[in-house]
Amino acid sequence: MLLIPCPWCGARAQIEFTYGGDATLQRPAVDATETDWVQYVFLRDNPAGAHQELWQHSAGCRQWLRVSRDTRTHEILESAPAVEASPGDAR
């Protein structure tokens, strides 16, 4: 099981979190080409190594985090608020 450092709550067990998947996906503009949409909806880099991913601390502060994690070792390299907000704002 992962121990995920939440910027607001500190290190917490994975079972408190919900996975949100690849954090690098950029939603295309509504009038973007079909190819752009296919890439966004279906295609993934699926790296073996550092993976940028979203987690929600759903059984905790309910904030979204952006985590960098090595998919080969599960080592967490970085964890930060998913949106630009400082932990202080949560109070």
Partner: protein, 417 residues
């Protein structure tokens, strides 16, 4: 050597010390007509059918570890064809028919056991869905039977069918021809039969690159040097994205770890494969007597292939809710395997957009049962340079054409299938 009662008797006389090796371990040649990457069931089956059905035997199977050390040797061995959507129904039914004759075809006992696969229903909505799927199966010529709660209680006495159960059982959909097979035997049987037809099986040989010249494959870089080939077939289960990336292709796949466990072995207590979609749990008893059960994903991308206690606890909780008497058993072993989770929950079997390159992958939870048909159709696709009508629907470009095969209707979230 043909395995038979006579070879068994003859070798008994020499105390079973003179059995020949089941396959050779040759050095890799510098060039093959076809290179198959991945020595699991799918890669070995592809090589076998290339030689048997198409007379193409200048073939190498390259495996980075040992044969069947991937998901073939890690899966919970359930074999079935109880699918709703037509492409899945036809494909998995072809596979089940191959399973029925596989031991004889390979001259190797794969221990296919048609003990029945029962999907439990816990609610009126479950019953509606099971009826609908069962009717679709029967229209496709596949065996399906709806069982009432009383039928189930008689058939599986240690299942808690009481109204007080945590997940009360209201009925179930049975596929009598579904069952289990022995996972290792499938890898070994295909390996031996492919080797006998001239296929080279090279273990401890990792593919590290795919050489592409002018839009066509030229060969593979490996830890044993460059091997030239005009056709390359990928059958690498959880690693399809990595291999496709070597040829510059992005796939609609994420790699996730799937958990399973076995109890200590006991005398026969369960003669049917029982599954519950509501709690995502399935269980069967192996011929050695262990109760084999799983299992969900860990629900985050992973190539780590390791166990995960919270998921194991979840599986055991589901097990005890359905089979309270199994609470006296001990967990003997747990493990995980890395699965290709595709964006619609269905596999990709076909040509890739680089000339000479093809794949069979994207198996999600359930590619063991697909092994014979996947190998057969992948071989056909490689030999003919075009898909068979049974795998045409599983082409990679179905995603851009909007023709996804989403059996569960879960949408493009790979860990939801």
């Amino acid at each position: 050597m043909k395995y038979s009662i006579f070879s068994l008797a003859r070798n008994a006389l020499s105390y079973h010390e003179r059995w020949p090796l089941a396959w050779r371990s040759p050095r890799a040649k510098s060039r093959y007509d076809v290179v198959i990457v991945g020595g699991g069931g799918h890669g070995l089956a592809t090589a076998y059918y290339l030689a048997k059905e198409h007379g193409i035997s200048n073939v190498a199977v390259l495996e980075k570890g040992y044969l069947g050390g991937g998901n073939t040797g890690r899966n919970t061995t359930i074999v079935r064809s109880n699918y709703h959507l037509d492409p899945n129904a036809h494909f998995y039914e072809m596979s089940l028919k191959l399973w029925e004759g596989l031991s004889r075809d390979l001259n190797f006992n794969v221990m296919y056991s048609a003990r029945g696969v029962l999907n439990l229903c816990h609610s009126p909505a479950d019953i509606d869905a099971a009826m609908r799927r069962g009717n679709a199966m029967r229209l496709n010529g596949i065996d399906a039977q709806f069982l009432s709660r009383d039928d189930i209680a008689r058939r599986i006495p240690n299942l808690d069918c009481s109204p007080q159960a945590r997940f009360p059982i209201q009925g179930g959909l049975l596929q009598p021809r579904g069952g289990t097979a022995r996972h290792d035997a499938v890898a070994w049987g295909y390996a031996r039969a492919a080797d006998a037809r001239g296929v080279d099986i090279i273990q401890q040989c990792e593919v590290t690159g795919i050489r592409v010249d002018n839009g066509a494959v030229a060969g593979v870089e490996t830890t044993q040097g460059f091997i030239a080939a005009g056709k390359i077939g990928l059958a690498v289960a959880g690693h399809s994205s990595r291999l496709a990336a070597m040829a510059g292709i992005r796939l609609p796949i994420e790699s996730h770890t799937l958990q399973a466990l076995v109890s200590d072995p006991v005398k026969p207590v369960l003669d049917t494969v029982v599954t519950s979609g509501a709690v995502h749990f399935y269980i069967s008893q192996s011929d050695k007597g262990e109760l084999v059960m799983g299992g969900d994903l860990d629900f985050c991308n992973s190539y780590a292939q390791r166990g995960n206690l919270p998921m194991i606890e979840h599986v055991i909780a589901a097990c005890l809710a359905l089979f309270p008497s199994f609470g006296r058993l001990k967990v003997m072993r747990t493990w995980g395997g890395v699965c290709d989770m595709s964006m619609d929950g269905s596999p990709i079997i076909g040509l890739l957009p680089v000339k000479g390159l093809s794949m069979t992958g994207g198996w999600c939870y359930g590619g063991f049962k697909a092994t014979p048909a996947s190998g057969w159709l992948h071989a056909y696709t490689i030999a003919r340079g075009e898909p068979h009508h049974l795998n045409a629907a599983f082409a990679l470009d179905r995603f851009e054409r909007g023709e996804v095969i989403d059996e569960k209707g879960a949408g493009p979230t790979p860990w939801a299938h």
